[in-house]
């Protein structure tokens, strides 16, 4: 690996890797300068004495990963995470762009909050794409100024959770249509245990915990799909967890409804029984379900019914996980491990993993200039180098996220992000963050493209 990395104007070469794209695989060297890819050449031809070289031999080189669900901590949860530490964690995890969830305190529901996020993100280690709330103050009562926000470059609207009022969801989808916006909801039905700590079933009954039946998610997903059909609006179903929901999405897509879906990486690993010991790190949002549900989610990723796998990054302060199971906040700090878990998943191919982690989410977020785009001369240089056979653990490697709420500290993972190039800058080199926040001027928000 290069000891010296290029200054502005000097070229950087990613040499000897196997480029994996939708169009296929090829061995090539990629030359990057001034934020863009300037050449893609047969291996070996680009190496010359003056260029700075990142050795990618034996590794996969892909377009940068794009996370459709990250909570960045700021504003309101700085005790757990900041935009600087979250974007550092994202880059270390191979992400060149993250979609910042607007359920901050205060929520991102107006231009002033958008400007604040962009200021905070300007010095981050990767690009931050802003999402805004569907409803003012995220109160679920009336629409936020979606048109103003869309004019300022926001293309993704979500209250980061269920939207109980189906009429309001209809209006949001109608209103967002001409704005080119996507409306995202996490389907759950409040009156059917929508906030319970566990999935309802034999495990929750034995543990003595209230449960969310799978029907809680299915009914809300079905209602949202119905409203998408009614309005023709762009609907995203965020972090689905149940087998029947996968079927609903599959059927809706077959019907031609403009719907997409995501799943959090942990839901491809864990089931409700993993929470047996009341380990609060196993409390998830939505809760982990049965092995049949997990199998359906994996199948949904593999047949591309589920468009994106997201990190679901939800940092919490350490003491928050030392609460009773049903009082502890759900979620994991996931940015550093998400890609490794998906790329190392025994039932998911590398191409499928990259489609779900980069290519498809970049399209959905309108952000192919920030990650997940084509690897061709002239394109923005957002790239990731992946060693698929490099065992590592988080405990040994260390963490740059402030949050410690991860169940994977000692899990041996097989895929390591060895380098991340964000807008032409090598932010991660040899599996380590090269510099702390401040070196990369990240594009702030999703300028539609």
């Amino acid at each position: 690996m290069a000891e010296q990395l290029p200054n502005a104007g000097e070229p950087l070469v990613l040499a000897g890797g196997e480029i994996v794209e939708r169009t296929g695989r090829r061995h090539a060297d990629i030359t990057v300068r001034d934020g863009r890819i300037i050449a893609v050449d047969p291996p070996g031809t680009s190496r010359n004495g003056s260029a700075h070289v990142l050795d990618a031999a034996g590794c996969v080189v892909a377009s940068g990963l794009v996370d459709l669900f990250s909570r960045l901590g700021e504003p309101g949860n700085e005790e757990a995470e900041t935009v600087a530490t979250a974007t550092a964690a994202a880059a270390l995890g191979g992400f060149t762009a993250v979609l910042a969830q607007p359920d901050t305190d205060p929520p991102l529901d107006r231009l002033g909050q958008l400007a604040e996020l962009r200021r905070n993100a300007a010095g981050g280690c990767c690009a931050v794409i802003a999402a805004a709330t569907i409803t003012a103050e995220r109160a679920g009562k009336r629409l936020s100024p979606m048109a103003e926000l869309a004019d300022a470059g926001v293309g993704w609207f979500t209250d980061v959770g269920p939207l109980a009022d189906t009429g309001l969801l209809r209006r949001a989808l109608q209103y967002a249509g001409p704005l080119g916006g996507t409306v995202s909801v996490r389907p759950a039905t409040a009156h059917l245990g929508g906030t319970a700590a566990m999935a309802e079933g034999a495990v929750s009954a034995r543990m003595g915990l209230a449960g969310q039946p799978a029907a809680s998610e299915e009914l809300a997903a079905s209602a949202a799909i119905g409203v998408a059909r009614l309005t023709g609006g762009r609907l995203h179903l965020d972090r689905i967890s149940a087998a029947r929901t996968v079927e609903l999405v599959r059927a809706a897509k077959a019907e031609g409804i403009d719907v997409s879906a995501s799943v959090a990486a942990e839901h491809l690993l864990f089931i409700d029984a993993d929470a047996d010991g009341y380990d609060t790190l196993m409390r998830a949002e939505p809760p982990y379900r049965t092995s049949q549900d997990r199998a359906a989610l994996i199948a949904g990723v593999n047949d591309r019914t589920i468009d994106a796998v997201v990190s679901g990054h939800s940092p919490v302060p350490p003491q928050a996980k030392d609460l009773p199971f049903d009082e502890a906040p759900p979620g994991v700090a996931a940015l550093e491990t998400c890609a490794a878990l998906v790329l190392g998943h025994p039932d998911i191919s590398v191409e499928t993993a990259l489609d779900a982690l980069a290519w498809r989410p970049a399209e959905l977020a309108g952000a192919t200039h920030l990650g997940g785009g084509a690897i061709e001369p002239g394109q923005p240089a957002n790239l990731v180098v992946l060693d698929l056979h490099r065992p590592w653990t988080l405990a040994e490697r260390g963490s740059v996220s402030m949050a410690r709420n991860t169940p994977h500290r000692r899990r041996e993972m097989s895929a390591l992000v060895t380098a991340t190039v964000v807008a032409g800058q090598a932010v991660v080199v040899d599996g380590a963050l090269r510099s702390t926040a401040g070196t990369v001027a990240a594009p702030a928000a999703g300028n539609s493209r």
């Binding site: 309802e200 079933g201 034999a202 495990v203 929750s204 009954a205 034995r206 543990m207 003595g208 915990l209 449960g211 039946p213 010991g277 009341y278 609060t280 003491q319 928050a320 030392d322 609460l323 009773p324 199971f325 049903d326 009082e327």
Partner: protein, 358 residues
């Protein structure tokens, strides 16, 4: 035993039987003029009650004091979050005072298991009731009460007959009422089935877990699960019962819309005078208390049968002995069981040297 008592499931049949046999000895201690032994002298038992409780706390305190342990009380209402202190901080503060056991009661399921992970070696965690999950000492006292009702001690003395093994084999026990929200039901199911009883859970579907059969089948070993049935009609099963185990029906369940009305509940699931008439003459009634007379059981039934067929007072008094057995077993003299003579030698407590446990 793991060093803690979190559920009865982890004890298994042998572990439960051992504690019930040990309970015999402490029942005998309780009948002495000075019901105290020095078995835990110098040991400190903390009661960490994050949820209000009168009878469980009293039973544990009495048990600890009769074993000559020091008792340290901690009460904290409402959630730990509201106080700005985590559960772990609270426990570690109490633990730092130098304790040998902590009885933990919390409205949230799983808290004793969480605290057991944070406990230092040598500190035993006893589940004093966690949410809807488990109440293992209640399960022990109920199982002991039924065992000794059907198989009384010879001459009121324990251990005379070495074949006197704790068992409920062949007994048919109904657990009636709000099962889904009941930690007592879960621990009673564990205790009774481990001792060989067959169980019928009687409740409307809204007061049972959503898929009750799957719950039982995934929870209990296959041979045990077969001995647990589910019914929505008390009348259907009444004639066959040896025990009617009534659960407390909390008023808030009525207002949560889980049942249509109180009279409707009483009509289907209450032990009314008519139903009491139909009981087998030797059938008995248990209740973990506090009892809603007029709901779970008709006032007149309680008065008429109280003498020897409503076992509520026995349950309470055995609750002290059962908790003494658990404390002795967890933080007493290791694996050696005391025999009656040893305990007798130690009384009166005041001047005797503490034995092994200190």
């Amino acid at each position: 035993m793991s060093g803690h008592l979190l559920t009865l499931e982890e004890l298994g049949t042998e572990g439960i039987a051992e504690l019930l046999s040990l309970t015999d000895r402490f029942v005998e201690v309780g009948q002495r003029p000075i019901p105290r032994v020095p078995a835990l002298r110098g040991r400190t038992v903390a009661t960490l009650f994050f949820e209000e409780s009168t009878r469980t706390r009293l039973a544990f305190e009495t048990a600890a004091k009769r074993l000559s342990a020091d008792v340290l009380n901690f009460s904290a209402a409402s959630s730990s979050l509201a106080k700005g202190e985590s559960l772990r901080d609270t426990f570690e503060t109490v633990q730092a005072m130098g304790i040998h056991a902590a009885v933990v009661r919390h409205r949230s399921a799983g808290v004793p298991a969480q605290i057991a992970r944070w406990a230092d070696d040598g500190v035993a965690i006893l589940n004093g009731g966690d949410g809807w999950h488990a109440h293992p000492t209640q399960g022990l006292q109920d199982a002991y009460t039924l065992w000794r009702h059907f198989s009384p001690m010879a001459d009121g003395q324990p251990g005379a007959d070495t074949a006197d093994e704790p068992t409920l084999a062949g007994r048919r026990i109904a657990i009636v009422g709000d099962i889904v929200h009941s930690r007592v039901a879960r621990s009673d199911i564990e205790a009774y089935t481990e001792l060989g009883a067959s169980i019928v859970l009687v409740a409307p579907p809204t007061l049972l877990p959503a898929q009750p059969r799957e719950w039982i089948d995934e929870w209990l070993p296959a041979d045990t699960a077969k001995r647990v049935e589910i019914s929505h009609s008390l009348d259907d099963v009444l004639d066959e019962l040896d025990v009617v185990g009534l659960l407390r029906c909390q008023r808030e369940r009525m207002t949560d819309g889980l049942i249509g009305s109180v009279p409707e509940y009483v009509a289907r699931y209450g032990l009314t005078a008519e139903r009491a008439q139909r009981l087998r003459p030797d059938a008995v009634i248990t209740h973990p208390g506090p009892m809603n007379r007029g709901i779970e059981i008709a006032g007149a039934v309680f008065e008429d049968l109280a003498a020897n067929r409503v076992l509520v007072t026995q349950q309470v008094s055995h609750g002290v002995a059962a908790r003494m057995a658990v404390l002795f077993r967890l933080i007493g003299s290791g694996t050696a069981l005391p025999n009656a003579e040893t305990l007798a030698d130690e009384a009166p407590a005041a001047e005797s040297p503490a034995r092994g446990g200190a």
